[in-house]
Symmetry: C2
Subunit: 635 residues, 2 copies
């Protein structure tokens, strides 16, 4: 095919060692080899074909997913795959299904919140898939506000049981994946009531369907909540609705690792710190950031290859038309997304390190870094998922009309990705949490408390004239974020009731939080001056891969030219943000319009430097066409 | 239902006359009554139900569309609907189908480009739907670049026929709606060749399928190009692929209104001005701008009602939670979109006036305003469709998790809308055309040529110190756009070859074009100081409705409080743009960071003023639930 020749020609232009970059992207040789092996395994197995997925009606689509899930399980057992391998295999099957919730939420919830006894009873059943579980938290009327859940779990001391009940329409469980058609069990979150008193929201293991005939048990009403965005996409998942009519479960099916209810109905706190739950939240959000870079890189890979193959206009004397990747308008939209994919990859690795660090501290009962870790993961989850959702759609548009065809792989990728902006914390709500943390940090500056870690820059107390000196770009990001935080804090102080102020200024606060999170992406390195992280104390980090973008650039990186490419990508990411948020930077006075214009010239020059390497930079993601979902079976 | 109560309460808060606003939105009482009647007719007819559309497989979906198209045709004939009524009825059926192309492209192409004789032969057949036509222009390898089309139409003087041929794979016609399964005929665009010479791209009427058995005629290969973005959505359309193997058609099937080919194969220009074709382009793009405000208002209507019904957080003492529309974060995302819907509506009306004006001038052989009209429609098509596509997705996110369900109506609206950014001129390509027009205008300033109409502001030659004086917002928009245009022109002048400069600076040029187009939306009024439009000469405009936003605000508008609401919406639209493009404004020096901060405070205050009227402002769109596509049949 003509397209193949174009890419061969492109690959010949490459100025760096692509194989070395593949290792950098994957994180390690081990990670590269494992994912390479699993990706090929899936791509070569006709049972995992997905090129007809977008034209199936819901029923056929769902049956098809069940066949694939069963086949994947069969292969995992036949090949005796490790847990890591099995996870990667499911990842490359690339079709959301009830197994995601079973392995990703149901099992971890029992592990994290169940007592040893509960784990011994339930985990073996789950591991063999003799029961299939889902995670029933959100309700029709209650998404972000978990404390507002209405489902009740009332202890009945006469029978030693909990009574699970849905008192209203709005208390119906709504959204749980795997619930609508498949799950036999669920972790149900409900308000615990004993002796007429409320004790907050807790998790309960509830059987939903008969293990004999798969029918819902008496008193349980279940349904599928219907079609979701896009064809194929997330419609392979059976998101469900669930209502309880006074269902009874034994007392020992409340997950009691942190809080126990005794035979008499008394609540007893265990010695397991509640903060562990925040550790889990950090973990989940950290994986979402990693997933963002994956989704973004898939979209960028498709759009970059298309842009190199596609020619339009510019033909002279009947010669070939110009490759669209050579247009500056295309470059200025595409290359910042390519740079973002790499930037998010590295900040994701830094978050992995942060999670390890926090976990070690939690185990040592050191909760000091938890608020900052929580703010980091919340903010980066929001920043990277919003940027990725927008970027996938931009990549689709960069493929012109062809991006509108499902055969481009992009429509389904968009539709399946966008819920990441809402689930596990709505992105705006999360930014407000970050803003709250920032405002608290700023307010403590007066009392002499030194901010640490990612907020250390807030403590510099630069006078505003300092911000206007021509400094390096990083300082501009720090000055911008500090100025926005301080301005918000100042405006807040004008309100008598701080909560009223927070509500009134929330849109500004969200912008300050975004500026702070962008600073993390461009600056993050382990061991900030003011904090001694666990790793610096020699407690972990035996390999050197869990760090941010800027750290990478200060190391030797094996492979010809790899470092140069990463440097170019870094500056594209940074300068593009300066361009996009120019109003913030100019308001801060840390750069002048003249400097902004020069930065723009530099950005254009960087695009030219990246251009010959663009195809190789997406080849480094090492994606199969199967995984990219390009092409479709003829109709 | 609980939701109904909430909205009743909201409607009681309204501070203006909603019925009067409905007339303002519709454009006239006549337009309101007609669309109201047709919308109800469709909504009350069970044959037009669309609440199961998103879960159907492609085949069922398509059959369903055929049933609806046939039913619509039956009702149009039974009720003896006028052309205007029939168009509105099809609009409210709200399901893309081959009839869109038949009525919207095939018939108009024959009317616009066919000779009287050709019209007499073909139009009656088309009007009775005895033939069904599509519009075959784009090719697999050629979208935006129409001059690059490869299909050939070679005149054979021996037989007095044209030979239509697809010489390559990339010359396959690709995308035409209605082609894949339905059309019997097509207007095919091909390179005209006579006597061995090329004469550019022209349109030909070609029969594709037998009128007896609907099979493709010999030498013609047709297929459906497969699934497109989203479920339901545009998959009700049979976009197709078409290849010709030396198909012969009689000479009189070339559309010859502008250029004729004689029996001897000579090309003869008629006395019909070629510029008429640009007039058609202005017409089509003008309707796209009107459609943008419609699509945007649908999304905003859904998101606003949801935001008023949905409650989350903020409950105190077990009371009701806070309506999410009361959060400033929600308002700052939603209300600018509501304001945009109104702004685009009014700029669309201004474009309608512009089209009428241009048409009258063309008929009088006055081509002087054509370049400006072309730039206006190209730019506004790009600006409004990009903004609308983004806004629909933002509205979807504003509905939280529920926006991801097809039952919200938003996923399908997004998927069916987004191609507007690509078809009828890719949005970036169009902005480059605007930029080219602007650069030409700026370059002529030196030669003393006075810019007119929408570019008049470029001729003010303000010294830069003028830009920094605190002026009204409108002046800031003018200063910003002028500064960006002049800066681009200055940078262009540094290049030896202007085309190289244009290519290198294209991303900056696109930004200047956007600034110019935003100025049009915020400033547009009939009769700019430097130009005497046709209407001012008393040639048209017997009613007073075809004008921009700012004109509306300077008139008496009937209905209590209507004008006040429009004023608030105007300033929300304007100040939100200042906030979003703050870097441009600050770089221009036309406002200071302090002023920007004050503008932000004013914006917040406007949100509070709009808040109690938000539901009534979307009620003024007068949309049925059927049209909004909310709700879904249970599974």
């Amino acid at each position: 095919m003509e397209g193949m020749d174009h890419l061969a020609h492109e690959r010949n232009k490459t100025e760096f060692d692509v194989d070395a970059m593949k290792i950098v992207w994957a994180g390690s040789r081990h990670a590269f080899e494992l994912s390479d092996r699993m990706a090929r395994l899936v791509a070569s197995d006709p049972a995992f074909r997905k090129d007809d997925r977008t034209r199936l009606g819901r029923k056929e689509l769902f049956k098809n997913t069940l066949r694939k899930a069963a086949h994947a399980w069969k292969r995992i057992l036949e090949l005796r795959l490790t847990e890591e391998e099995a996870g990667q295999l499911r990842n490359f099957v690339d079709e959301p299904s009830f197994t995601d919730l079973h392995w990703g939420m149901f099992v971890p919830a029992i592990k994290g919140q169940g007592t040893d006894e509960q784990q011994q009873k339930w985990l073996p059943l789950a591991y063999k898939m003799q029961i299939i579980g889902c995670y029933a938290q959100t309700e029709l009327g209650h998404g972000s506000n978990v404390q507002g859940l209405e489902t009740t779990a009332t202890f009945d001391p006469d029978t030693d049981e909990f009574v699970i009940h849905s008192p209203t329409l709005t208390s119906s469980k709504w959204w749980p994946g795997g619930l609508g058609k498949i799950s036999t069990h669920a972790i149900v979150y409900a308000r615990l009531i004993t002796n007429g008193q409320e004790h907050g929201v807790h998790g309960f293991i509830v059987q939903l369907r008969s293990l004999d005939d798969h029918m819902p048990l008496p008193g349980i009403t279940i349904g599928d909540i219907g079609m979701k965005f896009g064809n194929g996409a997330y419609n392979t998942m059976d998101n469900g609705v669930l209502k309880f009519d006074n269902i009874r479960i034994p007392r020992n099916q409340m997950l009691m690792r942190v809080l126990q209810v005794t035979r008499e109905g008394k609540c007893v706190q265990s010695n397991v710190p509640r903060q562990l739950i925040y550790g889990t939240m950090v973990f989940v959000r950290q994986t979402i950031v990693a997933d963002a870079s994956t989704a973004l890189s898939r979209a960028v890979c498709i759009a970059t290859r298309y842009s190199a193959v596609r020619r339009q206009f510019g033909s002279q004397d009947g010669g070939m038309e110009t490759q669209v990747i050579d247009y500056k308008t295309q470059q200025s939209r595409l290359f910042p997304l390519l740079a973002s994919a790499y930037a998010f990859r590295f900040v994701g690795e830094w978050l992995k390190w942060l999670y390890t660090d926090v976990t070690q501290r939690l185990q040592a009962k050191d909760f000091s870094t938890l608020p900052e870790a929580h703010a980091c993961t919340a903010g980066l989850k929001s920043l990277t998922t919003t940027a990725t959702a927008d970027a996938i759609e931009e990549c689709r548009k960069l493929c012109g009309g062809h991006g509108y065809l499902c055969a481009s792989g992009l429509p389904e990728l968009f539709a399946v990705y966008v819920p990441a902006c809402t689930y596990e914390g709505d992105n705006v709500v999360l930014l407000l949490q970050v803003a709250r943390f920032l405002m608290k940090t700023v307010s403590q500056l007066h009392s002499g408390k030194k901010p640490v870690g990612t907020t250390a820059y807030l403590g510099w107390k630069k006078a505003s004239e300092d911000w206007s000196k021509p400094g390096v770009v990083l300082e501009a990001f720090e000055a911008r974020s500090a100025r926005m935080c301080v301005a918000c804090a100042k405006n807040l102080s004008k309100f008598e009731n701080p909560e009223d102020g927070f509500a009134e200024l929330s849109a500004d606060l969200v912008e300050a939080a975004v500026a702070h999170c962008q600073l993390i992406v461009v600056s993050k390195r382990k061991g900030e001056p003011d904090v001694t992280p666990a790793t610096a104390r020699g407690e972990s980090d035996h390999h050197n891969k869990d760090e941010g973008f800027i750290d990478k650039l200060q190391q030797d990186i094996p492979g010809k030219g790899v470092k140069q490419q990463l440097q170019n990508l870094y500056y594209i990411y940074v300068l593009n943000l300066v361009h996009k948020y120019l109003g913030d930077f100019l308001s801060t006075g840390c750069i002048t319009p003249k400097q902004a214009s020069l930065a723009n010239d530099q950005l254009r020059s960087l695009y030219s430097q990246i251009r010959p390497n663009a195809i190789a930079l997406v080849d480094a993601f090492n994606y199969t066409d199967h995984y990219l979902g390009v092409g479709s079976r003829s109709l």
